[in-house]
């Protein structure tokens, strides 16, 4: 379980990234977080992981949280299986090395994301999608009850996006994980999330069941572009999708093109950049 009660944070006084934020992800539930860059998505994730203390409110967690960062760091020369093994660190003392049981657990986690075949390959030689999945396996290896993911699908191609989303859906369903992930694509929220949080500007937000929160109005306000939400059905599969109306082909443009106002408080650059 991941629950926020009146959570809020700012980096510059008076410029709230978000405030009065309350939600609750039950075991097996999925919450998607939508918002442009700089609105505090990653800040919220860091708050949940405990690497950042939020200025306001409370976070309640049902157990350890597995964190899946964006797979940007590509200069790690460890083998994929060793990367996953690092997820067992919580259970190992300062002077311990991983035991056979840890290795078995790591192998099982790698198997769960379907990457047994690349266990012996170096992490820095994997594709972006594989790296993201290895980090997911590492989070699984921590034996977490909740998982937060920072844009897990944003750097992936269409097929890999599908693999990632189906995997998240399965983990929530079969392992009862409470999952929270950020994304730039409203379709990802419509696809697998039962709740969605939209981080609007000036610290405002909308949160609720995906069908009610992801509306044409709220998305238009979120991204400052009109959108059309519509249902589709094909080969027995069905869902809803969101199309932005950019005025590219014959349509009436939404108005004069104007740059979006700068977000109120930008997060400082993450320290992982090298």
């Amino acid at each position: 379980m991941i629950a926020a009660e009146a959570a809020g944070h700012w980096y510059r006084p008076g410029q709230w990234l978000f405030r009065d934020l309350s939600f609750r992800v039950r075991p097996g539930g999925i919450l998607a977080v939508l918002g442009p860059n700089g609105r505090g998505k990653t800040t919220l994730l860091r708050g949940i992981c405990g690497t950042l203390r939020l200025r306001e409110g409370r976070l309640r967690l049902g157990g350890p949280v597995g964190y899946v960062p964006q797979a940007q760091q590509a200069d790690i020369g460890y083998l994929a299986i060793d990367m996953v093994l690092l997820g067992r660190s919580r259970f190992l003392g300062r002077f311990d090395a991983p035991r056979a049981t840890d290795l078995a657990r790591a192998e099982a986690c790698l198997d769960e994301v379907g990457l047994t075949a690349i266990a012996g390959q170096r992490y820095d030689r994997l594709s972006g999608g594989q790296r993201q999945l290895v980090l997911l396996a590492r989070a699984l290896a921590t034996d977490c009850t909740a998982m937060v993911l920072d844009e897990p699908a944003s750097a992936l191609d269409l097929a890999n996006q599908g693999i990632m989303l189906r995997l998240l859906q399965r983990l929530a369903l079969e392992r009862g994980l409470a999952i929270l992930f950020t994304t730039h694509d409203p379709d990802h929220a419509l696809g697998i999330a039962d709740q969605t949080l939209l981080m609007l500007d000036a610290g405002a937000h909308v949160v609720g069941p995906t069908g009610e929160a992801v509306t044409e109005d709220s998305l238009a306000r979120l991204y400052a572009v009109p959108v059309h939400r519509m249902a589709w059905r094909k080969d027995g599969e069905h869902g809803e999708t969101v199309v932005p109306l950019h005025g590219l082909r014959g349509g009436r443009a939404a108005g004069p093109v104007r740059p979006r106002a700068a977000p109120p408080g930008r997060a400082p650059p993450a320290s992982r950049h090298r």
């Binding site: 860091r46 083998l79 060793d82 690092l86 919580r90 300062r94 012996g120 650059p269 320290s271």
Partner: protein, 344 residues
Amino acid sequence: MSAAASPRVRPVLFWTALSALLLATLLASLAAGRYAVPLQHVATILAAPVLDVAPRWTPTEELVVRTIRLPRLLMAGLAGAGLALCGAVLQGIFRNPLVGPQTIGISSGAALGGVTAILLLGFGLPVAIGVFLGAIAALLAVLAIHDGKGPSAVLTLVLAGVVVSAFCGALVGFATYIADPETKLPGLVFWLMGSFAAATWPKLQLLALCTLPAGGVLLAMRWRINLLSLGDEEARTLGVHPARDRLILLGAVCLIVAAQVAVSGAIGWVGLVIPNLCRLVLGADHRRLLPASALLGASFLMLADTFARSLTAAEIPVGIVTAIVGTPVFAGLLRRAASARGRA
């Protein structure tokens, strides 16, 4: 997956080769020098205390091997193992292959501490204490300059080390300038040059007393170093608070470097080059990298010391030998790193 790229060199073979190299270096170095001793005499002299062998060697040979060369070689080996181990650990926890005891300023801080102690208090125990305090002060200064954030964190750490080294070097120069040429200066300069020539069993004891336990701590924490090398934030999301781990590791590193500088003066390049070479062959996993660096570092410094004392009639400071070998290797590594970054 090409064979060269695979970090899984057959482990048994690899460790046997490294250990054999170390043993061969030790035996050959005991035999070589201005006064050559036949190899089988070296072996029997060494074996004499354990096995009951009839002495077929001359008393001079025994003196040269057991009293002069053995403590010296053991000191060089221990110092080399310690420095390479420290380099591997520093490179891991600062996530930066360009870091070593010397680039990060620890060595020059230790030298400054030692010189200050010699100047104010004299030789002996004060030097050992001064060296340790100097190493810690230099490390703290470098960490204070370097905030660990931002895209150029790798560079600022090295630059901070350069700045602190330059500052310490200036003060060491000042100290030698004002030192009393009658009483203090000769000993001070001799100590600063760095050499294993003055090796004695008590000095070896001091080195071993610091290097073995501290090195044991570093080796025992080699899995934890893998975790720390991901960065603080990632380590914390995996449920480990890295601050205290890092403190223990840096303390052990300072102890090893300080003990080495105290007994043999600052010796560069070993801690920088050896771990990088091992990483090329073994991959980045510190579980293998640390013991391999220690073994190879020991062999390397013993060999360098043997060359230092046998190439010319007068002895060359061993630091000069390590620099002559180390700089081109390091330049090659730099180029490799640069071209790898260009591809990415």
